[in-house]
């Protein structure tokens, strides 16, 4: 059960930030060095230790030592230009170590992937999408007037927008990070891309997307705009972004796009067959829970709230059909595991309660809100 996944032989995860480990590995005494490298242990071993009640004490002799070079970043980006086609692989226009190629979308994608890689590496101690240095591939200028960006299971694809409704999709760093984060969530968990599990998948991408942007801008939770895709909607469109994590349902209200359909509370949960069962609609609920957790805790959202959410998505109890209530409970347990019973745990609980999901020590419940179908 603890090893439900077969990969991640070398993946790095630890409580200590990598820069600290790197410093210890480079400058520490031989004993400190060995300890630091032990801490950078394999996922499954570390996970097993956590569940055995250990915190950072990776002192078991079964912990596999990793070579020192594993403590280095392995950022490896490639940007391909599809030149308006929808056929892969296109032309490689920029790879790691090269300067700007002069194509705006390609350079934005390159920088966006860099910021996202750095976020996962420096904040979460994760080495790329698969935790094992997976090269990052982005494809720009996909199609003509193409109004979308997506993750296809191994690469990120960005359209130029039609100019009337949408600008180019690389314009927003959080959108780039959103797509990359889909890779992370897919690698970590078996979440179905459907109904509540799919909305959680979507929410994870928004959470990490926003955190990458907040970190680059140096914004605290209070300063952050909590918007996803600001700048992406063309001038003529009535709206400020694709979504608002702080106030779901308020991002746009336009005669062509319609009104932002996101709920921010379980009482407004939308039951639909469209959009894979509302994955981009009901994600507003967990998005708001995250935003409120971060706001309650204050400071940099990626430091505590972000880490709690990241721990949750890596939790082996995440199942294909994990719903909001299950996930709420897992985030509360993650908070407790990481920080003990204290303000973090309380902030997470209160935030979920604000969106209509009550987590108690033993169970989680969703009060009946009219036509709401909890656990759909």
């Amino acid at each position: 059960m603890l090893t439900r996944r077969r990969r991640h032989v070398h993946s790095i995860h630890c409580i200590l930030p990598p820069y600290l480990l790197r410093s210890i590995a480079e400058n520490g005494t031989p004993q400190q060095r060995v300890k630091a490298l032990r801490t950078v242990s394999t996922d499954s071993t570390f996970r097993a230790l956590r569940f055995a009640g250990g915190r950072v004490a990776a002192s078991s002799s079964s912990v596999r030592r990793l070579p020192a070079m594993m403590v280095e970043s392995q950022r490896q980006r490639s940007i391909y230009d599809l030149k308006g086609e929808e056929a892969f692989p296109g032309t490689l226009v920029r790879s790691e170590g090269q300067g700007p190629c002069g194509d705006l979308a390609a350079d934005e994608a390159f920088d966006g992937l860099g910021a996202t890689y750095d976020f996962f590496w420096e904040v979460m101690g994760r080495n790329s999408i698969d935790g094992d240095g997976m090269p990052l591939q982005a494809y720009v200028h996909y199609g003509r007037d193409y109004d979308n960006a997506f993750w296809d299971g191994r690469r990120m694809v960005f359209g130029d927008g039609d100019g009337e409704l949408f600008n180019r999709f690389t314009i927003a760093l959080d959108v780039i990070a959103h797509e990359l984060a889909h890779g992370v969530t897919e690698d970590e968990g078996p979440l179905w891309y459907f109904q509540q599990a799919g909305a959680l998948n979507e929410s994870m991408s928004d959470v990490f997307g926003s955190l990458v942007k907040q970190r680059l801008l140096g914004h605290t939770a209070d300063q952050a705009d909590w918007l996803i895709g600001a700048g992406l909607l063309a001038d003529e469109v009535e709206g400020q972004a694709l979504r608002s994590m702080k106030e779901p349902g308020t991002a746009f209200d336009d005669d062509v796009l319609g009104k932002d359909p996101q709920p921010g509370h379980m009482r407004d949960y939308v039951t639909t067959w469209e959009d894979n069962g509302g994955v981009h609609i009901n994600s507003g609920i967990p998005n708001r829970a995250f935003c409120m957790t971060a706001t309650r805790l204050g400071g940099s959202a990626w430091e505590r709230a972000g880490r709690i959410w990241y721990e949750a998505v890596r939790d082996p109890r995440i199942m294909p059909d994990t719903n909001f209530s299950d996930f709420a409970r897992i985030t509360v347990m993650s908070a407790t595991r990481l920080y003990g019973p204290g303000e973090e745990e309380a902030a997470v609980k209160e935030a979920w309660e604000e969106v209509g999901i009550r987590v108690s020590r033993d169970r989680v419940s969703v009060p009946q809100w009219g036509s709401v179908q909890p656990g759909a």
């Binding site: 979308n148 003529e236 319609g258």
Partner: protein, 113 residues
């Protein structure tokens, strides 16, 4: 066929965000369009052999991935009606061209119903 009897309808779902306005089917009579645009769409329909296409075209078998999009394009000519679901990536360039033309035609501000 006479142009004023042809109605094109497009809806889409999926993609990076949910836009009710785009998911709602939007249709346009070719006769409402500028002649040049209407002719381009007629050409597009012929080139893509739209009327002969099966109900679903494109898409992979991938259970992976996120934010991908699908379109439903319907052409009504009098009592005849043909509907095709286009799942990304749409590989046939003629079909992509048609999709692009129809998107522009049905999304004009003040246009479409």
């Amino acid at each position: 066929m006479s142009r004023d009897s042809v109605r094109i309808q497009l809806s889409q779902e999926g993609g990076l965000a949910a836009f009710p306005g785009l998911a709602r089917p939007r249709s346009v009579e070719l006769s409402e369009l500028p002649a040049e645009q209407a002719e381009a769409i007629e050409h597009g329909l012929r080139d893509a052999r739209f009327r002969e296409l099966p109900a679903v075209v494109g898409g992979g078998s991938a259970s992976k991935g996120a934010d991908q999009r699908r379109y439903t394009l319907t052409v009504e000519e009098g009592t005849r009606r043909h509907s095709v679901e286009l799942v990304e990536p749409v590989e046939d360039p003629r079909l992509r061209e048609l999709l692009s033309l129809v998107k522009r035609a049905t999304r004009r501000r003040g246009g479409g119903h």
